[in-house]
Assembly symmetry: C2
Homo-oligomer: 156 residues x 2
Amino acid sequence: MSTIGFHSHNHDQCIADTLSTADAHCAEEGLQFTPVRRRVLEILLAEHKAMGAYDILPTLADEGLGSQPPVVYRALDFLVKNGLAHRIELLNAYIACAHLGRAHRPAFLICRECKLVAEADAELARGRLGEAAREAGFTIERMVVELEGLCPACAA
Amino acid sequence: MSTIGFHSHNHDQCIADTLSTADAHCAEEGLQFTPVRRRVLEILLAEHKAMGAYDILPTLADEGLGSQPPVVYRALDFLVKNGLAHRIELLNAYIACAHLGRAHRPAFLICRECKLVAEADAELARGRLGEAAREAGFTIERMVVELEGLCPACAA
DNA sequence: AGAGAGTCCGTTATAACATATCAATCCCGG
DNA sequence: CCGGGATTGATATGTTATAACGGACTCTCT
């Protein structure tokens, strides 16, 4: 699984692919991919950047799709719960999933300069940390792995 | 480096040791370990639980040590910057460092039931994730690794 | 001693992020 | 057509964090 986000790519295609994968996924799972939810995912997809709920809200409001915080938060909860987006704890922000459809344990590389976020895969549970958790008798239910630093462009 | 937090231990001793290590550390580094800062660390040490800034504030206020948010946040910033405490992003909360004095890359095991937090060591940079970051040309400056789950007591 | 720099603290106000609650609507199966 | 479940709309509020400014203290240099 490769790291997405810092490389240039055909972004229109990237958006279109992800949306149609999302459509298919929701149809399969019997999930209601409503206009609000779909539009929030589109907005997130517009850039590989994390966006706060209050960054998304005005766009949504302009389009008459709900202008109060709960609307966005509910949509984001839906997307996160169903693996279509991720929450970045370090930024209190949200980003579209870059590995839609594939099971993964996401880790995030966050550029502190340009705010771009790349999604990588963290095979933590097998490492030394997984051992530490087992030794402590700790049952892992959710992992948050976020690395802050500089992307190649900003480091140069 | 062992995982601390889920095992019972002599807690008064644990607090006293940590405070005196902190005193020594600040003296060495020429840091001003002021009453507010010291008291905030003490409050954090009282439990191996993460506390929000607004949990700490009333105690501080009762003692006449500052009753407004910035006072606590400044003290917490000091403690975090100097490695005496850590911020838990998943909880928007803070916890005293359990491995004071030893260099470490902390990872946290957070019990969703009893809110106890244990500190372990994450040797991430050498694993598959470190490779992914290198491949992406990403320079890691800060790591956040937090695992949510159940501690042994709550799992039983 | 006095001037100036640096650090910390107290205070007010406000920004940024998130959720509780309840009513209204929509949609689908029975 | 009706009832139940999910979604949305709207109001209000809760929680976490920071901006901005002034005063107090200490240290150093002259």
